[in-house]
């Protein structure tokens, strides 16, 4: 089977008034279906930029990016949004929940543009909240949740569309140790469900990940090395 994500010669520049900043300097990366990939690197090494490009939230300046065989950078907005909604689940560092919505309404956001029946949406939301272990707070406003609960709400929202790929940017940065360990358990569940998981982090807690995964080391917009851990 072909890789789910294929990246060749990816470059990303930003034009600031003073100079042209090269944030990604020729990335080659291929991610297999069902693989868990940890992107490691210090802050500023380009991890978030790479994730944004894979998710179609940012566009490459140069190079080829195929996700599910689709050259996503070339898709027009409505197709790209559609693609993103169906294939990619996002977990953000700052959770990005809508604070004045309840947990279940937050989780339903990715389903709204899909023209599903009301009952169907309810079912899927229920299901996702169960998997992310947040069902018991389903009617609580997002603003009232603790950090760990917000994180789980975000995960439920990321998997509610049943995407193949789950992308997490610094998922444990705002969690205490206990919640970070819980997060690893949820990751394991996702892995067992066959999801492809891409995580950007500089948290050493991922060293205790107890299932097979790949670690890719990034530095200054380049991939230094990658290793498979069984």
């Amino acid at each position: 089977m072909s890789p789910i994500v294929e990246i060749e010669g990816l470059k990303r520049f930003y034009n600031t008034p003073a100079e042209r900043v090269e944030v990604l300097k020729g990335i080659n990366l291929s991610i297999e279906r069902g693989e868990t990939l940890i992107l490691k690197g210090v802050s500023g090494s380009g991890k978030t930029t790479l994730l944004s490009i894979i998710a179609g939230l940012d566009r490459p300046s140069e190079g080829k990016v195929l996700v599910e065989g689709e050259a996503i950078a070339k898709l027009p907005d409505n197709h790209l949004s559609h693609f993103r909604g169906r294939h990619i689940g996002m977990v953000f560092q700052h959770y990005n929940l809508i604070e004045h919505f309840s947990v279940k309404d937050n989780v339903s956001v990715p389903l709204v543009p899909m023209n599903l029946r009301y009952q169907k949406v309810g079912q899927r939301v229920e299901d996702a909240m169960k998997k992310a272990n947040i069902s018991h707070k389903s009617d609580m406003l997002a603003a009232r949740l603790s950090g760990g609960e917000k994180q789980r709400c975000t995960i439920a929202r990321a998997i509610v569309t049943n995407p193949e790929i789950v992308i997490c940017d610094e998922p444990t940065a705002n969690l205490d140790r206990e919640n970070a360990i819980k997060f690893l358990d949820i990751l394991k569940n996702l892995h067992n469900m066959g999801k492809t998981i891409i995580i950007a982090t500089h948290d050493s807690i991922f060293e205790s990940l107890n299932f097979s995964h790949t670690v890719v080391y990034m530095s200054d917009g380049e991939i230094e090395k990658s290793e498979s851990i069984e």
Binding site: S52, L57, V112, Y118
Partner: protein
């Protein structure tokens, strides 16, 4: 279109974020309330005045002596009747009676028992009241407002007028005129012509003026000229002129209020624009999140559009509804005085509901367009840029 999921989401976005929208909604309701109230009052008054004038005679013949209105000799009647094309000439005895020491004034109208025309009109007003009986004694019919004014001064069944000769003439309050919303007849007192003459000091053989009709519109100018040349001291006022005079005063007011509208709307748009650009970064973040979660630009613009439509329609209906209640049910306290002045009996006028749909819809457009623009344009600007924002 909107399915149940989207409706639910729309409701969440509008009402869940009520704190963000509340100030906007209150401001909108206030602006629309003021604009509609002003509109309701002015269209009601305009309607009342024009219909009242429309019912008036085509021309009024007066006499001017030394530049002042003077009593008209009854003998003019036959000269007027002689002009062809003139219909139903009637002499009128009436005048404004100013109470002492100061304050209100009444419009005294004398009615001739022998004048069949006047009798017909009067029996229409008085209805069941027996005319003959009324006209044979010192009786008068007063408007409700006049009656309550008199009652306050303990004139419960009669009122003594100080006549032109300096003697008191006691008139019985025979009945109250049917409650009339007519702006122009609020301070009216109707009494037999002889009593009216005595009080107002109009000599036998003289009247206040003549009114007449000209059925053929094409002849009006010609007849006006003809009348004017009858006597050196004659003065002819046509209905067209009085309508124009009223119109002018309304146009003046409308111009004034148009300026007010514009200032109000400009301020309103400015405040709105500021509100929505101040929340720019919040908006940007939220839109970035939606897009990262698979919403297209169109999905976001559609949601925001419906959000605004709900807010606009909600505030518009509320504002207009409140204005309707304020003007037509509560009779527009305070604002009515600005329009009618607080003199005499006019502030007690009942405002008849008149709805000017074209003006209401222009208020709607003037309100909705800047609103939609000041909200949707920033949203659109955000939505079309790459949504990397959510990642930061």
């Amino acid at each position: 279109m909107l399915n149940r999921v989207k409706l639910h989401f729309l409701a969440l976005s509008v009402f869940g974020e009520s704190s963000r929208h509340l100030a906007t909604v209150l401001l909108s309701v206030l602006v629309i309330f003021i604009l509609s109230s002003v509109l309701f009052i002015s269209s009601s008054i305009k309607y009342t005045v024009t219909t009242a004038l429309e019912n008036e005679a085509d021309m009024t013949v007066q006499r001017v002596r030394g530049g002042m209105l003077a009593q008209v000799p009854l003998s003019w009647e036959k000269d007027i009747v002689n002009i062809r094309g003139i219909d139903s000439v009637s002499p009128r005895v009436w005048g404004r009676y100013f109470t002492k020491p100061k304050g209100k004034s009444f419009l005294i109208i004398g009615v001739d028992f022998l004048d069949s025309n006047a009798n017909k009109a009067l029996s229409k007003i008085v209805g069941s009241t027996d005319l003959k009986k009324f006209l044979n004694a010192h009786n008068m019919l007063v408007s409700a407002k006049v009656k309550s004014w008199m009652k306050k001064r303990f004139y419960t069944d009669s009122y003594s007028f100080l006549s032109a000769d300096g003697e008191f003439i006691k008139m019985n309050i025979y009945a109250t005129l049917p409650k009339n919303s007519d702006l122009l007849s609020n301070d009216v007192i109707i009494m037999p012509i002889d009593d009216a003459r005595k009080i107002l000091g109009i000599k036998e053989g003289y009247v206040t003026d003549f009114v007449l009709n000209v059925p053929n519109d094409a002849q009006k100018v010609f007849i006006e000229d003809k009348l004017s040349s009858l006597h050196f001291d004659i003065r002819v006022v046509s209905k067209k002129e009085s309508l124009a005079a009223y119109d002018e005063s309304f146009n003046f007011r409308n111009g004034f209020f148009l300026t007010l509208f514009m200032i109000l709307l400009a301020t309103f748009s400015l405040i709105l624009y500021q509100r929505y650009t101040q929340s720019y970064s919040t908006q940007k973040r939220q839109i970035g999140i939606y897009r990262a979660l698979g919403w297209s630009i169109k999905d976001i613009l559609t949601l925001k559009f419906y959000e605004i439509v709900v807010i606009i329609l909600g505030s518009y209906v509320t504002g207009v509804g409140l204005a309707y209640i304020f003007v037509y049910i509560a009779n527009a306290p305070v604002l009515r005085d600005i329009f009618l002045g607080s003199g005499n009996f006019s502030p007690d006028v009942v405002l008849i509901p008149v709805i000017d749909f074209s003006a209401l819809s222009s208020i709607f457009l003037l309100y909705a367009i800047p609103f939609v623009a000041s909200v949707l344009i920033p949203v659109w600007k955000i939505a079309v840029s790459d949504p990397k924002e959510a990642m930061l």
